[in-house]
Symmetry: C2
Subunit: 139 residues, 2 copies
DNA sequence: GTATATGCAAAGGGTTTGCACGGTT
DNA sequence: AACCGTGCAAACCCTTTGCATATAC
């Protein structure tokens, strides 16, 4: 018998490899991992794994719908397991603080957007930038 | 007498240089320019200007409030004159199309966000990603 | 005259790619 | 046996930085 993730990969025409499995497990374990962080996590188990393998596998895992990524700051993207709660990131451009909140708050806006333009938006894909409450209070 | 932009620079403690002026004019002329594109535009007039000068001056011009930038795709950011209409970019992750629309549509959402979290959002700073009407119609 | 701006070249972070070898099917 | 996946190293794009020279003030 095959697990869910193995079937996903197989039906996409991809093979099951130890590296693939380790990358997937690491993404799940880290919850918010950059490629470098995922590499470090994978290397705890298999020290020989290369960064390029991480990138290639993240791409594959994303294509078959097992992970997604979001762009938070200006640096590397962070990867998530697909069944995490969908959330928005708010990045304060003054102090750099990042806060997450449930994506539900954006629903009415996304509906308006879809109504006006037909565009279906994935709000969680990029963080919103601005000024947080604390920094705003400083003037 | 000094022009508006000269005063802005001076009151920030910056000097007026030909390069500075050319960068500002190029941003205004291009409307949506990446640093490379701005360099090309500047070099039409002054071929000796260096890319690092473009970067340094975009930073200065942004600090004194004469230009802003937005992140549209995964590549370089695009710079705008500060008095352009504020707009949101919608990027289709399937076909890559980019559409602009007035930021007004996001007002209620931004108010909700501020109410819930105190966060003041600049929606125009990063593009929203998703699926455009045409691609969505294809299933 | 003095501090700031510039050009140049080198280095940096993040990511992709070509190639030969090894592993999955 | 055929092909896909991997490791390694080099290349890539975008951006920043150190340093000596030039220029705005």
């Amino acid at each position: 018998m095959s697990t869910e993730w193995e079937m996903r990969l197989r039906s996409g025409g991809y093979r099951i490899t130890p590296q693939r499995q380790l990358v997937l497990e690491s993404v799940e374990r880290l919850a918010h991992g950059t490629p470098e962080e995922i590499l470090a996590e994978v290397q705890k188990t298999a020290s020989g794994v290369n960064l390029s393998t991480i990138y290639r596998n993240l791409e594959v895992l994303e294509e078959v719908g097992l992970v997604t990524h979001a762009h938070i700051g200006h640096g590397a993207p962070t990867y998530h397991s697909i069944d995490d709660h969908v959330h928005i990131h708010l990045v304060c451009d003054r102090c750099g603080a990042v806060q997450s909140l449930d994506a539900g708050i954006a629903e009415p806006f996304l509906n308006d957007l879809r109504g006006a333009t037909g565009f279906v938006t994935d709000v969680s894909h990029v963080a919103l930038h601005g000024t947080c409450a604390a920094c705003g209070a400083l003037g």
